[in-house]
C-alpha cells in the first residue's frame, strides 16, 4: 500500500535521512524503531508531505506522492498523528474532531465518523465541550488519534503515541491502536517503547543514522541479538 524507495530528506543543508526504503501492506501494523535522532519522525513527516526537501520516491496505492503538499495528504488517504499530539488547544474536543474531517472525502461522512470515534473513545464524548488544552496528556493523545481517524484515512501514521503520557494510560493507548488495526486500519507506528511496539506490530524496521539497519517480522526482531541489546535492553 505504502512504498518508500531510497528516501533522502534534508532540513536546510543538513541531511537527516540518507537511504530509507520500506513498505507497508494493507492491514498491517509496521513499526519504525531506532534511537532519538535516528530519523523516525523525519521519515513519517516525509510521508505526510511535511518535509518538502527530499529525494527518492514515495508511492501510495500505486500513486507517486513524493511531490504532494502536506495539505493534500488527508485527501489522498494518509493521516499523520503528530508527535506531541498537537491538538488545537483553544478549541473544543468537538471542534478538533470536526477539523479532522475537513478534507472533502471525509466531510460528507462527518456525523457517522464522529459517532465511531466517540464509541471508541467514550471519554472524548464526555468532554466534547471542553477545550482540548485542558485535557490530560493521555486524553489529548486519544483526541489526536480520534482526529486522525476522522479524516477516513487508508493509513494512519502514529508518531510517538505514548510520549509524555501517564504509564497507566500507555497500555490503554496501545490497546486502542490494536483495536483500530483489527477493524482494518493500516498503521505505521513510530514508538520509543520498543517492546510494546514490537508486540503490537506485524513487522518492523530499525533506523540508524538515517538508514534502515535491520528489518523483519516483529517476532524476528524480538529475538534479534542486536535489537535486544540496543533497544530492548536485554
Amino acid at each position: 500500500m505504502l512504498k518508500v524507495n531510497h528516501l533522502q530528506a534534508f532540513y536546510g543543508d543538513i541531511q537527516a535521512l540518507w537511504d530509507i526504503s520500506f513498505e507497508v501492506q494493507e492491514g498491517e501494523i509496521v513499526s519504525l524503531i531506532g534511537a532519538n535522532g535516528a530519523g523516525k519522525t523525519t521519515t513519517l513527516k516525509s510521508v505526510a508531505g511535511l518535509i518538502q526537501n527530499k529525494k527518492g520516491e514515495i508511492t501510495f496505492k500505486g500513486e507517486d506522492i513524493t511531490e504532494k503538499n502536506g495539505f493534500e495528504m488527508a485527501g489522498a488517504g494518509i493521516s499523520y498523528v503528530p508527535e506531541g499530539r498537537k491538538v488545537f488547544p483553544q478549541m473544543t474536543v468537538y471542534e478538533n474532531l470536526v477539523l479532522g474531517s475537513y478534507n472533502p472525502r471525509a466531510k460528507s461522512d462527518r456525523e457517522n465518523m464522529l459517532e465511531q470515534v466517540y464509541q471508541m473513545f467514550p471519554r472524548l464524548k464526555d468532554r466534547h465541550k471542553q477545550h482540548a488544552g485542558t485535557l490530560s496528556g493521555g486524553e489529548q493523545q486519544m483526541l489526536a488519534i480520534g482526529r486522525g481517524l476522522m479524516s477516513k484515512p487508508d493509513i494512519l501514521l502514529l508518531d510517538e503515541p505514548s510520549l509524555g503520557i501517564a504509564p497507566i494510560l500507555v497500555q490503554e493507548i496501545f490497546e486502542k491502536i490494536k483495536e483500530i488495526n483489527q477493524e482494518g486500519m493500516t498503521i505505521l507506528l513510530v514508538e520509543q517503547h520498543v517492546h510494546h511496539a514490537l508486540e503490537l506490530s506485524d513487522r518492523a524496521y530499525v533506523i540508524e543514522h538515517g538508514e534502515i539497519a535491520v528489518s523483519g517480522t516483529a517476532e524476528e526482531m524480538l529475538n534479534d541479538e542486536r535489537v535486544r541489546e540496543a533497544y530492548l535492553g536485554i
Binding site: 502536506g70 495539505f71 483553544q90 477539523l99
Partner: protein, 286 residues
C-alpha cells in the same frame, strides 16, 4: 449624571468602531503572527470608497460597506499574495507592512490630494432621544452595524469550516496542514478579511470624520491600544477593549480636556503594558 451617561454612551458607540478596526488587526496577528502596520491604510481606503460612492453615485455610506468590504478584501488578498507572503519572519513583515503603509498613503495623496474631504449625509446631525440622553443617528447606525458584524464574525469563526480552519491555522499550523488545510491560502484569506474589517470601519467613520490620506496612522495606534487591551488574537477581547478605549476617550474629553482625547488611549496603553502585559483577557503564554 446626564452628562456622564451621555458621554458613556457615546464612548461605547465609538468603541464599537474601534473594536471592528482592532478585530481585523488581531485576526491577522493570530493567524500569521504579522503585525500589519498598513492596517490603518485599509481604513483610509474604506473611507474614500464611501466618500466617492456618495459624492459620485449617491450611495449611502452605510450601504457602501457592501462595496468597500469586498473591494478591500480583494486588495488585501492581492497584496498578501504578491507582497506580504514574501516576508520570511516577523521582523521582516513588520518592516514590509510599514513600507506598504507609506506606499498606500502616498498613492492616496497622489490620487486624491491632501484635501480634507467631508461626506455630508442629510441625516448627519439628526439625533435620537433616549430620555435625557441624545445619540447621533449616524453613530447609532454605525454601532448597530458594528454589533451585527461582530456577531457575524463570531459565528463565522465558530460555526463554519473555513472559520475553524482559520482558528486551527492560528493555533497549530502544522497540525492544520495535516487536516488538509492549505495554511498559506488561509493566511491569504485572513489578510483579506482583516483588510475588509479595517475598510468597514472606515466606511462607518466616513459620515463623522474628515477623510484624508494619512488618517490611517491615527487609527492604527488606536487599534494597537485595543488589541493590547484585549489580548493579542482574541475576538471578545477586541470588542471589550474597543469599548473601553471609546469610553476612556469620551469620559476623558468631557471631564479632563477635549484636546487630549487621543492621548488618553496612549495613557491607557502604558498602564496596561505596565500592569497587565498580556492584556485584560489575554492568557499568559505557557
Amino acid at each position: 449624571m446626564d452628562l456622564f451617561l451621555q458621554s458613556l454612551i457615546s464612548g461605547i458607540m465609538t468603541g464599537g468602531v474601534y473594536a471592528i478596526i482592532a478585530l481585523g488587526l488581531t485576526l491577522i496577528f493570530g493567524v500569521m503572527r504579522i503585525i500589519n502596520m498598513a492596517h490603518g491604510e485599509f481604513l483610509m481606503i474604506g473611507m474614500y470608497i464611501s466618500y466617492f460612492s456618495y459624492t459620485l453615485f449617491h450611495i449611502d455610506p452605510f450601504i457602501s460597506i457592501v462595496i468597500s468590504a469586498p473591494l478591500t478584501f480583494l486588495l488585501g488578498v492581492v497584496i498578501y499574495r504578491f507582497v506580504v507572503s514574501r516576508s520570511q519572519n516577523e521582523e521582516n513583515s513588520l518592516i514590509l507592512t510599514a513600507g506598504l503603509s507609506l506606499v498606500l498613503a502616498n498613492t492616496a495623496l497622489l490620487l486624491w490630494s491632501p484635501d480634507y474631504r467631508h461626506l455630508k449625509v442629510p441625516y448627519g446631525t439628526e439625533v435620537v432621544k433616549l430620555g435625557n440622553i441624545s445619540v447621533s443617528l449616524p453613530m447609532l447606525i454605525s454601532f448597530l452595524i458594528t454589533i451585527a458584524i461582530t456577531l457575524l464574525l463570531y459565528w463565522f469563526l465558530n460555526k463554519t469550516d473555513l472559520g475553524l480552519a482559520i482558528r486551527a491555522s492560528a493555533q497549530e499550523s502544522e497540525a492544520a496542514t495535516v487536516m488538509g488545510i492549505n495554511v498559506k491560502k488561509i493566511a491569504m484569506i485572513t489578510f483579506g478579511i482583516g483588510a475588509a474589517f479595517a475598510s468597514i470601519s472606515g466606511s462607518l467613520l466616513a459620515p463623522a470624520l474628515y477623510a484624508y490620506p494619512t488618517i490611517g496612522t491615527l487609527f492604527l495606534v488606536k487599534a494597537f491600544v485595543v488589541v493590547v487591551l484585549g489580548g493579542m488574537g482574541s475576538v471578545e477581547g477586541a470588542l471589550i477593549g474597543g469599548i473601553i478605549l471609546g469610553v476612556t476617550e469620551s469620559l476623558g474629553s468631557v471631564y479632563i480636556s477635549t484636546g487630549m482625547t487621543d492621548a488618553f488611549g496612549l495613557i491607557l496603553f502604558l498602564l496596561i503594558l505596565l500592569f497587565r502585559p498580556s492584556g485584560l483577557f489575554g492568557t499568559a503564554t505557557r
